[in-house]
């Protein structure tokens, strides 16, 4: 028999895959100069966002589950982010996948050492200070804010995404 944990895991896997596709489509849309193709990518991205939200709502309504058991709900926030190490001044470019009151999830080519402090800059914020919690094998890294929650950044990220 499936347990609540099994359903949570199933929804989590589905939502991670949908998010990865959204990030890929968003990245491609920014690279493509052909207007007709860019429009197709934008349309598909929009449909993916609706599909992602729809699945989360369905499971949430029926089981009282969220896509994961994080403290704060994550919102898609696709865009380029620049990180600067607070100690060394080293910079890194990455792609933001989502944002919550608890932090950011970004995808980057190089691995960030856990525990180090970073300042980030993007189209929707430029001041929050984060520390790296760890990275997944596919390059996604969690950057929690340590519970101090950049509420204004989250608000701006939602406005930024809504305006796209």
């Amino acid at each position: 028999m499936f347990t609540k944990a099994d359903y949570l895991n199933y929804l989590y896997v589905l939502s991670e895959k949908e998010r990865d596709m959204m990030a890929g489509l968003h990245r491609l849309q920014g690279l493509v100069a052909d207007e007709a193709l860019a429009l197709q990518l934008r349309t598909l991205l929009q449909e993916k966002q609706e599909s992602y939200e729809g699945a989360s709502l369905l499971f949430g309504r029926l089981f009282g589950l969220a896509a994961d058991q994080r403290r704060y709900k994550r919102s898609p926030a696709l865009g380029d982010v620049k990180l600067r190490n607070l100690e060394s001044g080293e910079t890194a470019s990455c792609h933001c996948l989502d944002i919550s009151l608890g932090g950011l999830c970004v995808q980057l080519a190089a691995e960030l050492p856990p525990g180090c402090g970073w300042r980030w800059k993007s189209g929707f914020s430029n001041h929050a200070v984060l520390s790296c919690a760890g990275a997944r094998s596919d390059g996604a890294a969690g950057l929690p804010t340590g519970g101090t929650g950049p509420a204004s950044s989250l608000k701006r990220a939602r406005q930024f995404m809504a305006a796209k």
Binding site: M1, K4, K17, M21, G24, L28, Q40, E47, L62
Partner: protein, 79 residues
């Protein structure tokens, strides 16, 4: 601008994830055990929701396949 080869590679990666999503949906829709933990009165809603999700995923797969086919057969090197 993006070169055709790079564009096809990235679209192929997105399509591969879509295939995984479809496989996940199909496997559970045909799995009676998946519905066993859901209260009987909610099962039709879950099944309908998953079927709708699967149908959208199939449409997205078709869109991606059409996109890739158009680019493969197109004569351009950059997009």
């Amino acid at each position: 601008m993006i070169e055709k080869k790079e564009l096809l590679q990235q679209l192929g990666e997105i399509l591969a994830i879509e295939e995984q999503v479809l496989a996940l949906c199909t496997r559970q829709l045909g799995n009676a055990a998946f519905f066993s933990g859901i209260p009987p009165q909610n099962r039709p809603d879950v099944q309908a929701g998953l079927e709708a999700f699967q149908a959208r995923s199939q449409q997205h797969r078709q869109t991606l396949e059409n996109m890739i086919a158009g680019i493969v057969s197109g004569g351009r090197d950059v997009y």
